[in-house]
């Protein structure tokens, strides 16, 4: 009696497993067409394109390779040697791709790289050295000038890195860095390399940290950062984020062609006047237009709309 129920239970278990697997496979098949349609539809409009996919995948593989190098007790910069070991690399990369926050972060970086590239092609906006950054480097305040120089170096590394589709671990925000280090800790032969990596991490010296500090150093002059053509995308996004207290990724993605209303509202929330906002929109999307009554939206209302929109 007892055995029979056991068997029956086992059968149920098998069926349940099969059902779940089948459902999963069915979902995967169902997802194919919408994803394909999205990818094939107007390339320029897409927030997910194969260029973005390739970059996100490249950055995540690169992060995984660095983690493997650290686990093996080496400096993460020597990751090239680890890429050959795909048996360990792929499962780790899969684990990383399951991390939504990491994916969102990499997506924003990839989008930043591509949008900056497009701005360069269309409007000759230099992705590395913008007029504003040049002014800051020439600042009389040596501290600001030094900060701007460091930012310039970090930004040029970033643009290079995007071309190679790599992303150093230390460029991650601390939450993600901490999570990835935790992941690497589980099977780590040599803690020394890990500890060294952790001790060497400083958000303030990462590119995003430097940009944020530079924006903070501009104080009231942050308005100067709210012009794409003057500040360049990197500083613009950081300035926009600082002025509206929104995440920087939102500022980057708002510069995508299909997100003009978000950009307009963010700029309004940052206190820009409608005429200036329109100039910025035209840089992003030549066909963009604002609703006529947009001038009547106060900065506070714009911020509230954005906050509500985020909750939807």
């Amino acid at each position: 009696m007892g055995e029979e129920t056991m068997d029956l239970a086992a059968d149920h278990a098998v069926e349940a497993i099969l059902r779940d697997e089948l459902a999963r496979e069915a979902r995967a098949l169902v997802a194919v067409v919408p994803v394909l349609r999205h990818l094939l539809s107007t390339e320029a409009q897409a927030l997910v394109s194969d260029a973005i996919l390739a970059r996100v995948r490249g950055m995540i593989l690169d992060l995984a390779a660095q983690l493997l190098a650290v686990q093996a007790g080496r400096d993460p910069a020597t990751r090239g040697l680890a890429t050959s070991n795909s048996s360990a690399l792929d499962p780790l990369a899969d684990a990383l791709m399951a991390d939504e926050a990491l994916l969102a972060f990499c997506h924003a970086l990839a989008a930043e790289g591509l949008i900056a590239q497009r701005l360069q092609q269309r409007h000759a906006i230099d992705p590395v050295l913008s007029p504003l950054l040049q002014e800051l480097i020439a600042s009389e305040d040596s501290a600001i000038a030094g900060l701007a120089m460091s930012t310039l170096a970090a930004q040029s590394r970033f643009v290079q890195g995007q071309r190679r589709m790599d992303l150093p671990l230390t460029e991650l925000p601390p939450e993600l860095f901490h999570r990835l280090i935790g992941l690497a800790q589980s099977d780590c032969s040599d803690r020394a390399a890990l500890d060294q990596l952790q001790a060497g991490y400083d958000e303030a010296t990462s590119r995003l940290g430097l940009l944020a500090r530079l924006v903070a150093a501009m104080r009231r002059g942050v308005v100067a950062g709210l012009g794409l053509d003057h500040a360049g995308l990197a500083l613009f996004a950081s300035a926009l984020a600082a002025a509206t207290r929104q995440p920087r990724a939102d500022g980057v993605l708002a510069c995508h062609e299909g997100q003009t209303i978000r950009l307009a509202l963010m700029l309004r929330a940052a206190g820009l006047l409608p005429a200036a906002i329109e100039r910025q929109l035209l840089l992003v999307d030549p066909a963009a237009s604002l609703p006529r009554a947009f001038a009547g939206i106060s900065a506070e209302r714009a911020a509230a709309l954005l906050a509500n929109g985020a909750a939807l």
């Binding site: 305040d141 040596s142 501290a143 600001i144 030094g146 900060l147 601390p174 939450e175 860095f177 901490h178 952790q198 991490y201 400083d202 958000e203 303030a204 940290g209 944020a212 500090r213 903070a216 150093a217 104080r219 600082a242």
Partner: protein
């Protein structure tokens, strides 16, 4: 200890926290913000966004850098905070460096918006809300506070009475009917509640000059005391007892003006506002050091009051004396460096575990080590040793290489207000003479003792003995 690159042009303020996110020391702007946010120095970091950042950095063990902002009561303070977590050996806290410190007055909202916001806040926090008709007679009463049940009962028993008959208005001598604007904002008490309440009268209806009715809100000045609080309640009650005049009444009020005197005097002394003759700069230095003396004195007096409160008791928890010594030495590291004094901690962790209250032991050690640094010649060594003292006792000693104490001094050194003639040498340190007295009282409250003898090398050797865990 200062591992951060303190780029001068961008430097705003520097602070240091410990493993429990208490701000131990801070530059003037940060200290002022801490106090304006309702915190103490030293005390738990009271600036919400900074506290979250410090906790995050400490838990992750990573250096983080974020923009932060806070409201200090008059203006918005913002800056870029860089948090560097320190290792366990350095106290387990964080270094906090705020770059680009800036304070910008908040543009006041329009009077109407502001009034609406105030009304909304009062509605949300009122524990008694009542609808009144045009002649301020009760219509409906609803209460949320247990101590307002009697008020609700009285209102229920006598519908249609004028509300002010059920409460005792403070500071209003006239009798009703009074114009409602005069009652809006008044203070009152009512039967059944020990608390002080604030009255809000909000007119209803389209015409504010001739309201169709009122919304009466009673807002308590303080939350209802939590009677179910176990354990520590007794100590808290002792610490807030009305007998403690200095600690509860005087210190909080005086701290801010004294801090401002010090900060302004430092500004003058450092000639931050422009060139100044040397004499004036020196005068300002004297004002600043006198102010610091006053501030330290206030702290000491508040402590004195606590230890002299009848029924003062300390908690009993395992305290690793070697660990406490390392932390105390870490906290005083900068002061020691300024005098080229070497702080040497001897004794391994785990060898001397006392049953005492950690923060009190730390307070005693900081006092002893601080004295040793201040009163021994520059460029000498202060040795702190944690050891087992036999038969259920453990001890920690602090030995300096100063002039030492004579037998006669040793008898007086722990007396209240005793400074052993150190007041005469220009008074540059500015102690209140209460530190050792308080330390001894604290030691005795923990069933321990604090004694002084001559160190082998000729200096003074203070010995704190505590029961072993």
């Amino acid at each position: 200890m200062n591992t951060m690159d303190r780029t001068d042009g961008l430097l705003g303020a520097y602070g240091l926290t410990d493993a429990r996110d208490r701000l131990l020391s801070a530059d003037a702007p940060l200290a002022e913000l801490q106090e304006r946010c309702g915190g103490d120095l030293p005390g738990t970091l009271a600036i919400p966004e900074l506290l979250a950042l410090v906790q995050q950095a400490r838990v992750m063990g990573l250096k983080i850098a974020r923009a932060f902002s806070a409201f200090d009561g008059d203006a918005e303070v913002s800056g870029f905070a860089r948090i560097h977590p320190l290792g366990q050996d350095d106290g387990g806290g964080c270094e906090v460096l705020v770059e680009n410190w800036q304070r910008s007055p908040v543009s006041p909202p329009s009077a109407r918006e502001f009034a609406e916001k105030l009304d909304a806040i009062d509605r949300a926090t009122a524990e008694v809300s009542v609808r009144l008709d045009a002649r301020q007679r009760l219509q409906v009463v609803s209460t949320r506070a247990p101590d307002a049940a009697a008020f609700e009962g009285a209102a229920f028993a006598a519908p249609g009475t004028v509300w002010s008959e059920l409460v005792e208005l403070s500071g209003i001598a006239h009798h009703q009917p009074l114009h409602w604007r005069l009652l809006d904002g008044a203070a009152c008490r009512f039967a059944g509640s020990q608390r002080q309440w604030r009255v809000r009268l909000i007119p209803l209806g389209p015409d504010a000059q001739n309201p169709a009715g009122f919304e009466l809100l009673l807002i308590a000045d303080e939350p209802l005391p939590d009677t179910a609080a176990p354990g520590g309640a007794e100590v808290d009650a002792a610490e807030t007892s009305p007998a403690r005049l200095v600690g509860t009444a005087l210190t909080p009020v005086l701290r801010q003006p004294v801090a401002r005197i010090i900060a302004n005097a430092e500004t003058i002394r450092a000639r931050l506002a422009g060139p100044l003759r040397d004499e004036y700069s020196e005068y300002a230095g004297t004002i600043a050091s006198a102010g610091q003396h006053l501030a330290a004195m206030l702290d000491d007096l508040a402590d004195l009051e606590v230890v002299e409160t009848p029924g003062f008791a300390t908690a009993r928890e395992p305290v690793d004396l070697a660990d406490a010594a390392v932390r105390a030495a870490g906290i005083l590291g900068v002061r020691a460096q300024n005098r080229d004094t070497v702080l040497l901690v001897e004794g391994a962790r785990g060898e001397a575990i006392a049953g005492a209250e950690f923060r009190r032991v730390l307070q005693i050690l900081i006092n002893l080590i601080g004295n040793a640094i201040a009163y021994s010649p520059a460029a000498t060594t202060v040795t702190i040793t944690a050891l087992a003292a036999g038969e259920g006792r453990v001890a920690v000693t602090v030995a300096d290489e100063g002039a030492g104490v004579t037998q006669e001094q040793a008898e007086r050194i722990f007396d209240k207000g005793e400074r052993l003639g150190r007041g005469s040498d220009g008074n540059k340190d500015g102690g209140s003479g209460l530190g050792l007295y308080i330390s001894r009282r604290l030691a005795e409250a923990m069933d321990g003792s604090l004694t002084v003898e001559s160190a082998p090398g000729g200096g003074a050797l203070f010995r704190l003995e505590l029961p072993a865990q």
